[in-house]
């Protein structure tokens, strides 16, 4: 149990550092960045309470925001993600009854896991980009950014999951 907690704390900081120091600087084609840090919320096991998930989402978003100068935007989107995660986990999670669900490619199955990740990441990106521009003035451009960044992020998460499974 303590091992699990420690693992999650390490993941928390490693993901923040990767996001802030590497991924925020990619700017592929000028605007496409993967937002890998949401992966932290996605793989939280179901044993962690909903309130705790919200707290973690808030903290994660806030730290990312402070580093990238978009105060509040990532926080808003990530809290929403943390709120929706248990709902989507129930919808796409394993059909057999387990005590604790560890969301992963292995436990969900390929198709369902991709759907689970894609829907959540897409909602997160959509909310993030519209909150960031604070208007619908650049509707299509913002939508394009959200779609591209989501695809990028989902691909990255699936790669990491594949890698984990191989090991």
């Amino acid at each position: 149990m303590i091992n699990e907690t420690l693992k999650h704390i390490i993941y928390f900081f490693v993901l923040i550092f990767i996001q802030v120091l590497v991924l925020n600087n990619i700017r592929f084609l000028g605007f496409i960045n993967p937002y890998l840090y949401v992966y932290f919320i996605l793989f939280l096991p179901s044993s962690i309470s909903k309130d705790m998930t919200l707290c973690l989402g808030f903290l994660l978003g806030l730290i990312i925001d402070i580093f990238s100068g978009t105060l509040g935007c990532n926080t808003f989107a990530t809290v929403l993600l943390a709120y929706l995660k248990p709902i989507f986990q129930k919808a796409f999670g394993p059909r057999e009854d387990y005590d604790i669900v560890f969301p992963s490619l292995h436990s969900f199955g390929m198709g369902r896991y991709i759907q689970y990740v894609f829907y959540l990441v897409f909602i997160h990106q959509l909310v993030f980009f519209y909150v960031e521009t604070l208007s619908f003035a650049y509707f299509w451009r913002t939508l394009l950014s959200a779609v591209c960044c989501s695809i990028f992020t989902v691909l990255l998460i699936i790669c990491i999951e594949e890698f984990k499974e191989r090991r």
Binding site: V20, R27, C73, T75, V79, R141
Partner: protein, 285 residues
């Protein structure tokens, strides 16, 4: 009553969720309004130090570009030096002239060299963090340039770090007074969002003749930037209405390749502003 309490208890997660969302919305709104006073940005010591560390690693990746830009700047400075030397030798002959010249020189702009340790250029809220702060002489409202042209204006500063709002910031809508080379009419330059290579220049009267490829410079009307600093070149222009052009400007600075920049310190900017304010008050009365 009991049902109400039961309802509240059952949906406490929902309320907690709503509370956190409202809190982050408040953060967004406040951040946009009071960007200058907020400490939760990268001029914060912790955040600044982390970025400085990461920059120590990153700087090895673009050494070629840095070298190139530094050598270009060297060449430019050397050409200025030779000019200055010839001037000095001329003035040495007449010492009474030198005294006056010194006063004129002391009024000039001075430059603080700083290093970009982080550039967040993703969306509309773009900003750049520098490794120099108040203790190095950098202060809010100073202009920032590099050898290719203008970059932006310092928006917040701590002891050792400062944050620059680049011209690429459609949220703050910072307008910069600009003009076409060799024409005296000035216009306002700003960024509409989107492509990071182009900015828009407005309020240029129709009777000014403009051609594609014309150079756009700072006008020197505001004390932030001295006159004649490169901004970019005219890429396209069209009539905005019956009186003014709207010009699409290809920026000369490549914001994806920022390394060393100069912060412009104009010691008399406050004095100039005060004087202008006084005149405004008088004319308003």
């Amino acid at each position: 009553m009991r049902t109400l309490i039961r309802f509240l208890l059952r949906s406490k997660t929902l309320f907690f969720f709503l509370f956190l969302e409202i809190f982050s919305l408040l953060l967004i709104i406040n951040h946009n309004q009071f960007q200058r006073v907020h400490f939760l940005n990268s001029s914060n010591v912790v955040v600044g130090s982390v970025y400085r560390l990461s920059d120590k690693v990153y700087q090895y990746f673009n050494l070629t570009e840095v070298n190139e830009s530094l050598s270009k700047e060297n060449a430019y400075l050397r050409s200025k030096l030779s000019k200055a030397e010839s001037e000095v030798s001329f003035y040495k002959q007449d010492t009474s002239y030198t005294g006056r010249k010194e006063i004129a020189l002391s009024k000039n702009y001075s430059f603080i060299t700083a290093k970009v340790i982080q550039a967040s250029l993703i969306g509309q809220h773009n900003h750049i963090t520098l490794d120099k702060g108040i203790s190095d002489g950098v202060d809010i409202g100073m202009g920032v340039i590099n050898e290719k042209g203008i970059i932006g204006i310092v928006s917040s500063a701590s002891q050792h770090f400062s944050v620059v709002l680049p011209i690429l910031n459609s949220v703050s809508r910072s307008h910069i007074s600009a003009k076409v080379l060799n024409k005296s009419q000035s216009g306002a330059l700003f960024w509409e969002g989107g492509d990071m290579r182009y900015a828009t220049m407005d309020e240029v009267p129709l009777y000014v003749s403009i051609e594609k490829g014309d150079t756009i410079m700072t006008s020197g009307y505001s004390s932030i930037f001295p006159e004649g600093i490169m901004i970019g070149t005219v890429d396209e222009y069209s009539k905005k209405n019956d009186n003014f052009y709207s010009i699409k400007v290809l920026l000369s600075v490549d914001f994806n390749l920022l390394s060393y920049v100069s912060v412009i310190d104009y010691p008399f900017s406050e004095e100039k502003e005060e004087l202008e304010k006084k005149v405004e008050e008088v004319t308003n009365d």
